[in-house]
């Protein structure tokens, strides 16, 4: 073996260590999130009052009298309060927003930790672990790229590790942007652990180079976009799933129906169904154009490699099906009678199509794309 190959081998090993360490730390984050939820169940707000309309959590008049500041307050029923502050005279014009037609006036839940301090501490610890794990994860992907001397997206193992990394990365970015997304932590760490577990055990390939058919920069564009789209679609799918649960919970709450206490306790801590739905929609709508671009980039590459931009190869077909399914979802959201739960089911179907394309087609169907090292 020549020296270069030995160096590559070393980097490949580092990469594997890093991925394994990342898994370990993700597991810690997972446990910490679990603790967050468990402690949260002790908190006082465990089961929300059924008094719906009275829920309006009107933000209190903020101290607009702070010298030299005026605050324009955005008061939202049952939702977050935004305050804009500018150096100005003392008076405060308020902005009042009506509850949206879609929102039941139910406030977002307090989060996994409820109002329990210990739970909150564990939640913070979980995020710290997640950050650390993500750095290790990122290092693992980076070293893999160095060891194979190309973008690390050449086979299923590499797709899966990068996929998880982008999903967690997107989550951390949302946290950084101060979005209310901590509720997704437990679900995300669980699925990243599954994803990495599957990648390192079943899908692992120490593949170093690519077959000539894959030598094209369009490939890198196409595949990286596909991975990013998938990761964000995934976050949206988690949001959608939780929306469906939370929506059922809220419906029962509104109808004053008896609910399983445990379940209600968990549900009450999630964001309001309206917020979850909005989150899912934003994520989906955010990447839909990217997914469209992914398909077009794939077509351009197919044109160069195979002499046709579209040939109904199984992978292409499923990309198309996924695309149409998401278009269907976006339409449903604009169609009376299809909003809400029905649209949510469509979103889940669309994501299932994406997953099938990702794993199913590579494994069960043979086509021109079945190089992917399974």
């Amino acid at each position: 073996m020549n020296i270069a190959a030995a160096v590559n081998e070393n980097f490949a090993n580092y990469s594997n260590y890093l991925i394994r360490s990342a898994m370990f730390v993700y597991a810690l984050a997972f446990l910490a999130h679990l603790a967050e939820w468990v402690f949260g169940s002790r908190s006082k707000v465990a089961v929300q009052s059924a008094a719906l309309a009275a829920e309006t959590r009107e933000a209190q008049e903020q101290d607009g009298g702070k010298a030299g500041t005026v605050a324009v307050k955005v008061v939202q029923r049952g939702g977050a309060t935004t305050t804009l502050e500018r150096p100005r005279p003392r008076i405060v014009p308020k902005v009042v927003t009506r509850a949206s037609a879609s929102d039941r006036g139910i406030a977002d839940g307090p989060g996994a930790a409820g109002e329990d301090e210990k739970g909150d501490l564990y939640g913070r610890v979980a995020i710290a672990f997640t950050v650390l794990a993500w750095l290790l994860h990122f290092g693992g992907v980076l070293f893999r790229a160095i060891s194979v001397q190309r973008p690390p997206w050449g086979n299923m193992y590499e797709f899966s590790t990068t996929f998880g990394m982008v999903a967690v990365g997107a989550y951390l970015v949302l946290l950084l942007m101060k979005k209310n997304v901590r509720w997704i932590g437990l679900f995300l760490t669980t699925s990243v652990l599954l994803d990495l577990g599957l990648a390192t055990s079943v899908l692992y390939t120490s593949s170093d180079q690519l077959v000539p058919a894959l030598h094209s920069y369009w490939l890198w564009i196409h595949v990286s976009c596909a991975i990013i789209s998938g990761a964000i679609f995934y976050l949206a799918a988690v949001g959608t799933m939780l929306y469906l649960f939370r929506d059922r919970y809220e419906t029962a709450l509104a109808a004053n129906r008896e609910q399983n206490r445990r379940w209600a306790d968990i549900m009450s801590r999630l964001p309001a169904a309206a917020s979850l739905d909005k989150f899912a929609y934003r994520m989906n709508a955010l990447v839909f154009p990217l997914w469209t671009f992914t398909i077009i980039a794939g077509a351009i590459w197919a044109q160069a490699a195979w002499g046709r931009y579209w040939g109904w190869d199984p992978k292409e077909t499923w990309a198309f099906i996924t695309w149409v399914a998401y278009a269907c979802y976006l339409h449903a959201r604009a169609t009376a009678g299809w909003k809400g739960r029905k649209a949510a089911y469509l979103a889940l179907i669309a994501f299932a199509c994406f997953l099938f394309n990702y794993y199913g087609v590579n494994i069960f169907v043979t086509g021109k794309h079945s190089y992917a090292g399974v």
Partner: protein, 595 residues
């Protein structure tokens, strides 16, 4: 569209606008109203109109989209006619269901009538949708933003305060501020409601983007159609040293289309000088291909000069607008066959077709011109496997795709090849109906195939002839395609993405500002906003505007601690508008993604 119908549409389309907003909330989009519940008017025309309305409704578009994705599924699971070999294999394995599949067109889903029916209906629906929407949008562009609704405090977001400033001054400032924020604005004096107002609207690009996207879908469809009417594709397998000229007789297979046939083929050609392939020689990926490269000389036009060129997997060669793609490669054992008379009955390379990634290949050597001992025609055939790196004791299985230890495993036949029957034959397969196998002497009992290394020969028993395996050549297969419509497809694709971004990321919204002299002599400023959907964003915008107006309309302290101040509204406390869960069963917001 009649006037009443139009106003029906407008009224029905108010986003999240509370009904009482009337015109102010109308036309925030051009989305068609759902009219599924309406009963068709009597008469044929009534019915036709009704059906057309159904077809162009969002609901039917939704159903058609869903059907389209469903209909695309079987084609990904059942072999399609473009891969004839797989279809044949499938039919052999599933003789029971195949006729039904055949009848349903499941072997060519994407060109089947029912698949076409779905997308044609979808596109008719789309046309029926975008044409009126475009008109409506043009109308909206030419119109001014609608006048302020009577009660700004009923809008999803509002702000109100009292000031000492003069109403006109406030409105002027608001007008300027909104212009600065790049709203389309219109300033109006006092109307039916006391006080003048400013109406402003922004985010038209959302609608424009949405229309562009849907039009681009048409572009894609048209370019698909152009491509499929105009394309031609042919395959050619060439052994090292051989050449190809672009006319029908030279193709192994050729599929023309309606507008492009064999007569349209352009005169060009090329020779395959050599084919380079490299494979990984160690490590876990041993045998994985690393380099495929066809070195060629090509010429364009009947008497063009040969030019050197290279074709590799992702880099087709373009000759006079036609593209030549490298599709595959394999090996062609070179053999010399002598017949019973001692004459050379066949000599040359015979391409064998790869069966696996290590290029274990199968093939047939047909020798139609052989004579038997008596000088009578007795055709010979040899069929079997070629392994670029093989082991005679392991059977016909290759271990590596490179030519490290080539072996040729053959059985021999004699009799009638059936070539003269006039039915075209697969050159890679042997029809043994009229042939008899010749028993060969092999070292392994029970196995009739002989394994040959280069240089070795089979001598047929009873002096019936011989076959010498003299060497191996490489072959490469090419696809020669004529295409058009690619640019249109690309441009449409780009337009679709652009349109989508506009449609999904841009928020269409309206803001109104009203200033009127209150009973106490101070000016009441009201601003309110309405979006395609409500969101905190519009509230932020109102907030920012309120702040921006402070220098021109400084707020006076509130007397009462009343949220609504003096909004002259008779006490509609917006926050207390309680909603029950039942009226939220249908959602109505669709805010743009601004995550």
């Amino acid at each position: 569209m009649s006037i009443t119908e139009k106003s029906e549409r407008d009224a029905g389309r108010s986003g999240d606008a509370p009904e009482e907003l009337g015109a102010a909330g109308a036309q925030l989009s051009t989305q068609p109203v759902d009219s599924l519940n309406s009963v068709p008017a009597l008469g044929v025309v009534g019915w036709l109109r009704w059906m057309w309305r159904q077809l162009t409704s969002m609901r039917v578009a939704l159903v058609l989209l869903f059907l389209l994705s469903l209909a695309a599924i079987p084609g990904s699971l059942i072999p399609q006619h473009s891969d004839a070999l797989k279809v044949d294999t499938f039919k052999k394995h599933h003789p029971g269901i195949s006729p039904l599949y055949e009848r349903l067109g499941l072997f060519h889903v994407y060109s089947s009538p029912w698949f076409a029916a779905i997308y044609i209906l979808l596109f008719v629906s789309l046309a029926g949708c975008i044409v009126p929407r475009t008109w409506q949008f043009v109308g909206q562009l030419r119109a001014r933003p609608p006048a302020a609704p009577r009660h700004l405090t009923r809008l999803p977001a509002y702000s109100t305060w009292r000031t000492d400033a003069d109403p006109d001054q406030v409105l002027k400032a608001a007008h300027k501020a909104l212009r600065g924020r790049r709203f389309r604005t219109s300033l109006s004096a006092a109307g039916d409601v006391p006080g003048g107002s400013v109406a402003a609207e922004k985010g038209y690009l959302r609608e424009a983007g949405n229309l562009l996207f849907h039009v681009a879908l048409f572009g894609l469809l048209i370019s698909f159609a152009v491509t499929s009417l105009n394309k031609a594709e042919g395959g050619k397998l060439i052994v090292e040293g051989d050449g190809f000229a672009n006319n029908l007789t030279q193709y192994d297979d050729f599929s023309p289309s309606t507008l492009y046939g064999a007569d349209d083929l352009k005169p060009f050609g090329f020779t395959l000088d050599s084919f380079d392939s490299k494979y990984e020689t160690s490590g876990p990926d041993i045998g994985s291909p690393r380099v495929f490269k066809a070195n060629i000389h090509y010429w364009n036009g009947a008497d063009g000069k040969p030019v050197k060129g290279v074709i590799d997997t992702n880099h087709p060669l373009s000759i006079g607008g036609e593209k030549v793609y490298l599709i595959g490669h394999g090996y062609a054992p070179v053999v010399t066959v002598k017949d019973a008379q001692g004459n050379v009955a066949f000599q040359g390379p015979v391409p064998f077709l790869p069966q696996d990634s290590n290029i274990t290949s199968t093939g047939t050597i047909k020798v139609p011109d052989a004579l038997d001992k008596k000088g009578k025609p007795d055709q010979l055939a040899f069929t079997g496997y070629f392994t670029p790196t093989g082991d005679a004791s392991a059977g016909p299985r290759s271990f590596f795709p490179g030519l490290d230890a080539p072996l040729l495993f053959l059985n021999a036949y004699h009799g009638d090849l059936g070539i003269d029957s006039g039915i075209s034959q697969n050159v890679y397969q042997l029809d043994t109906k009229h042939m008899k196998q010749i028993k060969l002497e092999t070292s392994t009992p029970g196995i009739n195939a002989v394994a040959l290394k280069p240089g070795e020969a089979i001598t047929l028993p009873n002096g019936a002839g011989s076959l010498t395996f003299t060497g191996v050549k490489t072959w490469a297969s090419f696809q020669i395609s004529h295409q058009s419509g690619n640019e249109t497809a690309l441009i449409s694709g780009a337009a679709a993405i652009l349109g989508l971004m506009g449609s999904l990321f841009i928020q269409r919204r309206r803001i109104w500002v009203r200033a009127s002299r209150g009973a106490d002599g101070t000016t009441v400023v009201e601003t309110g906003g309405l979006g395609r959907s409500e969101s905190v964003r519009i509230a932020d915008e109102i907030g920012a505007l309120a702040l921006q107006l402070q220098p021109d309309a400084p707020a006076l302290p509130d007397d009462e601690n009343d949220e609504n101040g003096e909004n002259g509204d008779g006490g509609a406390e917006v926050e207390s508008t309680s909603r029950t869960a039942s009226d939220t069963a249908t959602r109505t917001d669709d805010e743009g993604a601004r995550a």
